[in-house]
């Protein structure tokens, strides 16, 4: 184990030669707060001599000062990083640790065990080749252990160690060990973990970590470190059909056009036939170019640059794939989604989805169900909250090339990004496509939008009036439509109240329903713009992201956002419909401005301050702006 000090001292060249060919294993440790996870990692670092004398001195001092081992060395202190959590005595984030033996280099993702940090565990698991799940031998398989196992399996980690720790506290009992293994096996079968290796150990005492332990002589399997050194890597990833998302088009001059990316699966040689997805065009690999000369072959896990024999259109986000076994192309999927954000997932709200090197707009449908990861029960849900996991359909605004996550992680794993906060709000795994969009072509019509609006001599667009209830939207919209009509324009006015009596009468005022309300209105507006009309929309539309979605449905310049800016105090004073009074009295729930937020536009095309302008002046100003 560890580094052979004698070889280092006697023949460093031989040592280096041997170590140049070491492989790399990334693994994840997960366990409940008190399972001894930090102690285990500290022990691995210590036993593989990755701790220097100065760190050791600091560790001894810290152990005496704040250690939990009564002055003995507290290995956990080696791995607890941030000052805040050192005080709390818990790990709050994913930390990466490094150690190596003569056979392998290891990257350990140390992830926290407590409930509210599912997101960190999923993050750590996404890049791990193997997982070590800690169990306290005294406590057996806890709810937390089930949760961790479920997530490990969900993220597709196939090499799992059940590290039954603290065997010193159960008198090194084989019976206790067998009891826990039997209990865990039943659970593993239930969630679909086919194989796991159970290892009894004591991280604190160092038993069965690097060397077989005499106190655990009844156990005949490998100690933890040997298992980690021998765990198979990457499995059959290289045997799969070739896949490479194009990250960057390499174009130093007119004579060279290369496609750079990370090989996600399979291998490639010059002469191989490739297909570009989603376009479906084909060509043949000409060269695999590197700074050290061309390669005869490249495999999964390498970053490469390819050139093709034909000049075909390839851009960032496309997938280069084996022509005889290409991935699917679709725009609707069933997925498992893990939610990371304090703000819940709202069905229908457009998020950005990043998969491979492609970013598209995606809407999540209402969850089919969410999963209680402690009991594996399927529960009904209308949204997903922080750290919840659900099965949801996803609809994209463009078709993408994909593989199911279980086939190729890089072509089936995605993140969702909030358009406004830019936070990574969720991550998911594609199961399968709901329909193949290559079978549904957009119907190209001869009479199109320019033809229809041209016939009316106008520019089709949406004038979107947003503002608080009572701000004056409807009044201004009504005056504006009269003004446009008088000028010979062909218009239509969509009013919030009116639409809610018909098209949207099935919707209430929860956040989800409000999102759906706006989505429908936006889609109707788009159709009307396509019909060549000038559409006036008068809706409170309180959320920025929904207005951004509506804008996204239209072409540049077709969406005119008008902010009818009336202070809440003023709107409440007017209270034309008596709604504020009811809301204040608690008779109306989710009322914008009272107990539901209004997110004012940041950069509207037009802002109308109703404390300065009359409704007539406001309509005239908008009319003038439209005429420009």
């Amino acid at each position: 184990m560890a580094h052979q000090s004698t070889l280092i001292a006697d023949d460093i060249e031989a040592y280096l030669k041997a170590h140049e060919v070491k492989s790399l294993l990334r693994f994840l440790t997960c366990g409940s707060v008190d399972d001894g996870k930090s102690t285990l990692i500290g022990r691995l670092l210590y036993d593989s001599k990755m701790i220097f004398e100065d760190q050791m001195a600091a560790l001894e001092a810290d152990s005496k000062r704040i250690g939990t081992q009564g002055g003995e060395i507290d290995f956990a202190l080696l791995v607890d990083g941030l000052a805040a959590e050192r005080e709390q005595g818990i790990t709050i984030d994913v930390a990466y640790r490094f150690f190596s033996t003569d056979r392998r280099k290891f990257i350990v993702a140390d992830t926290p065990g407590h409930e509210q940090y599912t997101r960190n565990m999923v993050t750590g698991a996404s890049t791990a080749d193997a997982a070590v799940i800690l169990i306290d031998a005294r406590k057996g398989v806890l709810t937390q252990s089930r949760r961790h196992s479920y997530l490990v399996n969900l993220l597709g980690i196939r090499h799992v160690v059940l590290a039954i720790n603290k065997m010193d506290l159960v008198d090194w009992s084989e019976d206790r060990f067998k009891e826990i293994v039997a209990e865990y096996r039943a659970f593993a079968d239930q969630i679909g973990i086919r194989e796991f290796t159970a290892i009894p150990m004591s991280a604190l005492r160092g038993d069965n970590i690097t060397e077989p332990s005499a106190r655990l002589a009844w156990y005949k399997g490998p100690p933890l470190l040997r298992w980690l050194e021998e765990a198979p890597l990457e499995d059959d990833l290289r045997e799969k059909p070739f896949r490479m998302p194009v990250q960057w088009v390499n174009r130093p001059d007119l004579d060279f056009r290369g496609f750079s990316g990370f090989v996600a699966a399979g291998s490639v040689r010059p002469g191989d036939r490739l297909k570009v997805l989603p376009s479906g065009r084909e060509s043949t690999v000409a060269r695999i170019v590197t700074m050290d000369g061309d390669l005869p072959r490249a495999v999964a896990g390498q970053s490469i640059t390819l050139t093709l024999k034909d000049e075909i259109d390839v851009s960032r986000g496309d997938i280069l794939a084996a022509a005889d076994a290409p991935p699917g192309v679709a725009d609707q999927f069933e997925t498992t989604l893990v939610w990371f954000d304090d703000e819940p997932m709202i069905p229908g709200r457009p998020y950005l989805m990043k998969l491979g090197a492609r970013t598209v707009s995606a809407r999540v449908n209402e969850p089919k169900y969410k999963i209680n990861v402690n009991t594996l029960e399927h529960l009904a849900a209308t949204r997903l909250e922080l750290n919840e996991i659900g099965v949801c359909n996803l609809t994209l605004d463009a078709a993408i090339a994909f593989d199911p996550y279980v086939e190729t992680k890089d072509l089936g794993g995605f993140i969702l990004i909030d358009r406004l906060s830019n936070r990574t709000v969720g991550a998911g795994m594609l199961h399968f496509a709901l329909r193949r969009s290559q079978n549904i072509h957009w119907q190209a019509l001869d009479v199109d939008k320019p033809a229809r609006s041209g016939q009316k001599g106008q520019k089709a667009r949406v004038v979107w009036l947003t503002g608080l209830s009572g701000a004056g939207k409807s009044t201004i919209a009504n005056l504006l439509e009269k003004r446009l009509y008088a000028a010979g324009r062909h218009t239509y006015l969509l009013d919030g109240d009116n639409v809610r009596h018909g098209l949207n009468k099935d919707l209430g005022f929860t956040e989800e329903d409000r999102v759906e309300n706006i989505r429908r209105v936006a889609e109707v507006s788009r159709l009307m713009v396509d019909a060549g009309l000038i559409v006036l929309v008068s809706f409170i539309s309180p959320f920025r992201s929904e207005r951004a979605m509506a804008r996204g449905l239209l072409n540049e310049g077709e969406f005119i956002e008008v902010f009818i800016d009336t202070p809440l105090l003023e709107a409440e004073k007017r209270d034309v419909k008596g709604l504020y009074k009811k809301a204040r009295a608690g008779e109306l729930k989710n009322f914008t401005g009272i107990d539901s937020p209004y997110e004012a536009p940041e950069q509207p095309e037009i802002r109308i301050d109703t404390t300065l302008l009359s409704a007539e002046e406001a309509a005239e100003r908008i009319f003038a702006a439209l005429a420009e």
Partner: protein
Amino acid sequence: MNVSLITQPQPKASEVASLDRAMLTHLQRLEAESIQIMREVVSECERPVMLYSVGKDSAVMLHLAAKAFYPSKPPFPLLHVDTTWKFKAMYEMRERMAKQLGFELLVYQNPDALARGINPFDHGSATHTDIWKTEGLKQALDKYGFGAAFGGARRDEEKSRAKERIFSFRSAQHRWDPKNQRPELWRLYNTRINKGESIRVFPISNWTELDIWQYIHLENIPIVPLYFSAERPVVERDGTLIMVDDDRMPLRDGETPMMKSVRFRTLGCYPLTGAVESTADTLPRIIQEMLLTTTSERQGRMIDHDQAASMEKKKQEGYF
């Protein structure tokens, strides 16, 4: 006659086949990951820049960048936030490398520090570092409006860095908020920022000190000669060997520079960088010394000693 042709015959076909099945080595996997990160930044971020400190980690970063974009030149400039107190050999190396690899080189010196003559002797290491480096870096990033800056920090260097993401988000004031970092799954990085915000990107996060040295050795990457042992003029001050690199260094009473066989494990401002006595004058011997040694890398750098978790604090203030 080429000796290597005789001692290393061409591999047989069967050996090629077995090579084919071989797993990628740890260095190949690390290299591929770093290149993927660099390409992602260039594709998605506005105005990227590579921070260049002239040290060994920077040397590896430059090499990786050259590989990532070959045959194109790396599509971003190098930025050296200078303190005017680096070793002479580092300035020579800086000019040579930028030219050799075809990078545009930007050098920034905080004009305020320059005007006030900030130096480690009169102002102490903390003030010196804060004004030249921390403030200098912020000023430089603001001046050029860089949206993303590559840095050569590694997670194995220090405890708080073990939790640093590869993409680290900074507010418009360049502050790092450990509670508000984005999860990084698979190879997917969310690079979106609001106006004024910026990203620090650490492509060699997962490399260790040993990986860096092995890679430099394998790839023949040029490094500053100060890493190799040689006879150099040093004085022993507060238990640390300081090299007298130029005549700006005030000698204390009784101090006379003596010639010693020394080298540097880490490079910074010469008055703040401790030398170690050593005879390691080749890369294998440096690696050998590193593996047998008993003190961690950053001990030669005085910035870490100020207080517990000081790196974390500095990071929150905008230092890397």
